[in-house]
């Protein structure tokens, strides 16, 4: 589920941007928490009360061994068990593209959290567009390293597509950041079309109708 990230810093770029969007001391559910890096970052820097859900048994066990509250489960099936507004933030970092039903998953995030924060690889990035245009084959990039037949990514989207989905689930965009392969955020004034072209990944902070 987790992708190789070209960002060379200590932390994953989207994690740093997500952490900036989270208020200190809040309650966070990280869906698809992987090895728990974001939960650790949020606990250390923001003092959050964090919980995680992760598909991989090995990663769950490592998380619990390191003292994180994580359960084995997946976004498609297990989010229904959580009550409304149980968390301040429900986070999905580089995971939505691997879910079977992104729309329902997003709706659940917006129900469980007062805010939802979603980061995802942008399939509208110019490198992907040019690969498809010139090779006529499904693109492979450092960001999307698996060939089409073995990738866990079931539902890749572009920034523009995601904005449409947000409207479809009746949510409001509170904040949105696109960033390049160096983890540098694109200038604030950049138009959505340009972000869609130049952003390798994006982080969206959303608010649903319940909140």
């Amino acid at each position: 589920m987790e992708k190789a990230v070209p960002f060379t810093g200590q932390q994953r770029a989207d994690h740093v941007l997500i952490a900036e969007m989270v208020k200190p001391g809040s309650r966070v559910l990280d869906v698809g928490c992987g090895d728990g890096a974001l939960l650790k970052l949020l606990a250390e820097q923001k003092g959050v009360d964090g919980r995680g859900v992760e598909l991989s048994r090995e990663k769950v066990n490592l998380c619990v061994q390191s003292g994180l509250a994580v359960i084995q489960g997946d976004a498609d099936h297990d989010l229904a068990d959580y009550p409304d507004q149980a968390f301040d933030y429900a986070i999905l970092s580089l995971t939505i593209q691997a879910t079977r039903d992104p729309k329902t998953v997003l709706a659940n995030l917006l129900r469980i959290g007062r805010h939802a924060i979603v980061s995802f690889p942008n399939f509208g990035h110019w490198r992907i567009r040019t690969q498809l245009l010139f090779t006529g084959r499904m693109p492979m990039t450092p960001n999307l390293p698996e060939p089409w037949f073995s990738t866990a990514d079931a539902h890749l989207c572009t920034i523009k597509d995601f904005v449409d989905l947000v409207a479809l689930v009746d949510a409001e965009v509170e904040d949105a950041v696109a960033f390049n392969s160096q983890g540098q955020r694109l200038p604030i004034k950049t138009s959505i079309s340009l972000q869609n072209l130049l952003g390798e990944k994006a982080v969206f902070k959303l608010r649903g109708r319940l909140a």
Partner: protein, 407 residues
Amino acid sequence: MATFSAEPGGDSPSVKPTSGQRLFEVHSPSSSLIVFPEDAPLRLESGQLLAPLSIAYQTYGTLNADKSNAILICHALTGDQHVANVHPITGKSGWWETLVGPGKPVDTNRFFVICPNILGGCMGSTGPASLNPKTGKPYGVDFPVITIGDMVDAQVRLIDHLGIDVLFSVIGGSMGGMQVLEWVTRQKHRVATAIPIATAPWHSAQNIAFHEVGRQAVMADPDWRSGNYYEAGVVPKNGLAVARMAAHITYLSEKALQGKFGRNLQDRKARSFSFDADFKIESYLRHQGSTFVDRFDANSYLYITRAMDYFDLEGAYGGKLANAFAGTTAEICVVSFTSDWLYPTRDSKAIVKALNAVAANVSFVEIESDKGHDAFLLDEPEFHATARGFLSAAAAKRGLAQASEAR
């Protein structure tokens, strides 16, 4: 540790026990003992009052000044208080010695570990082999039917007696896990962390069925004598051994049985064309059955299996398991094993789902193992790493000193 040690004990006892030794432990346990007198009866779920009440228990490590480092270990069906020391009857090492001890995942250099013999047991806590104050004779089947909740209420008495307000952790597997769940729901504010292992929020029809086979085997033994075998100086050993054999199969996995025994013959090259124990598995089960009889009371087996059958946390909370956990503040780490078909992972997931439904602080790991239900008693490194990591992190969060600082 041997691969097969289903519940306390294992193979080849180094001390040959006698029923006299076992009865000695019933009345004068070789561990700590607290007796609550006649005027402080325990009110049971059945409505009956039980007094006097004895609880035999072991402790390991040192209780710290603010009494914040206590861990309660709840034993399984045929376990007892001898979790990390040599067993007084069998002479074998403690049933959870791989998990509990100095430097072990449940580190007795850091934590104060308490393990009581459960209510209804036969190692010093009040049970059917104890003397009925009304008659001066062993209770037998006059002992009141008990529940898992009653066992926990008895443990609460002990924890109160020790002056402990909040337990740092309550840990147990199988029936011990049921007690952990009862602690979390009955004593919400007295449990900081909990580890229910290889357990379920209710006893399934299949589990009740296996228990009924065991009970019927005991009661069909003519030496059972309607439960009054103590005075006759006999024990229904054939019936109890059969009960143990049947139960033992449920503790293992098909793969483990096949891998360990297959169709191999025991001490012979050809079939004997008789009902001798030709096969290794037969010989193994017979051994398990006969050694069990030496250390366990048949009536205790009846009462404790009954208590497990009655366990239904969902039913007790209006048919909605989440209601049981409403207001739970404990950090809970649920553990299951992939090859456990007695308490399968889906049962643990039902607990996790209910805890999620109240936004409780829950972790859940499923450990890959081919050893079946018994895996929780064996040396499963991933399970032990989970317990160690979970407890260490929770202890650090609560400012509990490291082992080196504690001493």
